[in-house]
């Protein structure tokens, strides 16, 4: 069966795929962490382009938005915490590069052998008129349980992320034995336990 994709779309998918891998390799090659961040963003945007070629406009849009903001946050984090974020001094910050390269290459080879030896069940398919509507109906219908679990997981992430990142824990507020009647806050008015 021939693909529904036009010749232009196939070319775009191949070029964008190559671009995403090249940008992905650049992440771990460039000196500067800021450049690495933007290389990762380029890799994500290339994958976004492939998703658009596959008629997954909504997921592509979400990916592009999320990753652009995420990489901006990551750049801020690097400037805040990391040494040498601008890469002004050439330095390598790797350990066990040889073993890691072997594991990475091994995973790639194992997956590729599988990909090119499996007889994929590609046949006649019926395409939905609107993939976004299909996803929305699945989220609100047959796949609602998955979305419920995702929602709870994201909520747990908000709570635990805030707990981890907060500077003052309960021992700072209520003393080592947690017996203080009022919390010792820089700005009074915090809730008691």
């Amino acid at each position: 069966m021939l693909t529904d994709l036009s010749a232009w779309a196939v070319t775009a998918v191949v070029v964008l795929g190559a671009l995403s891998v090249a940008a992905g390799i650049a992440v771990f090659v460039v000196d500067s962490m800021a450049r690495a961040t933007f290389a990762l963003l380029a890799s994500f945007l290339a994958v976004t382009g492939v998703l658009i070629a596959f008629d997954l406009d909504y997921l592509a849009f979400v990916t592009a938005l999320m990753m652009t903001i995420e990489m901006a946050i990551m750049a801020v984090f690097m400037i805040m915490f990391m040494m040498n974020p601008a890469g002004l001094m050439p330095m390598t910050m790797v350990h066990n590069a040889r073993g890691s390269a072997l594991v990475g290459a091994g995973a790639f080879v194992a997956l590729t052998v599988g990909i090119w030896t499996i007889d994929w069940p590609v046949g006649e398919v019926t395409r939905p008129a609107d993939s976004t509507r299909q996803l929305g109906e699945a989220i609100m219908g047959s796949h609602m349980l998955a979305m419920l679990v995702i929602g709870v997981g994201l909520f747990a992430t908000i709570i635990s992320g805030t707990l981890l990142a907060t500077a003052r824990g309960r021992y700072d507020r209520f003393g080592a034995d947690l017996r203080a009647a009022r919390p010792n806050d820089p700005v009074p008015g915090g809730l008691p336990r």
Binding site: M1, A7, G24, A107, I115, V125, I158, S160, L164
Partner: protein
């Protein structure tokens, strides 16, 4: 070009992204760079999920849900990773995992 060939090319790209991401996550010392390795591997999962939807079963939303789940995993990983970076840096000015090797159990 046959659909199977395009699918195989796309999946090979996804496998390459996963391999490079795995290399990065295992080899980098900086905590943020390790997170970037994970993100790159998940990028490959996004691509493979999109290809699975387009070529196997576009009449069902299952593969689209897989992509949504991969996106959520990315968001959770980044949020918890950044929170852990802040916690580690605040207590001992650690920004490389080798400096926190005594946490190894």
């Amino acid at each position: 070009m046959s659909a199977e060939l395009v699918l195989q090319i796309v999946l090979t790209v996804a496998a390459a992204l996963i391999g490079v991401g795995l290399f990065g996550a295992l080899s980098q010392q900086s905590i943020v760079m390790i997170m970037m390795g994970f993100e790159l591997a998940l990028n490959g999962v996004l691509l493979a999920g999109g290809a699975a939807w387009y070529f196997f079963a576009p009449d069902r939303a299952d593969a689209q849900m897989l992509v949504v789940v991969a996106l959520v995993v990315m968001a959770v990983e980044m949020a918890m990773g950044f929170a852990a970076v802040i916690a580690a840096y605040r207590t001992r000015q650690v920004d490389m995992i080798d400096m926190a090797a005594d946490l190894k159990g």
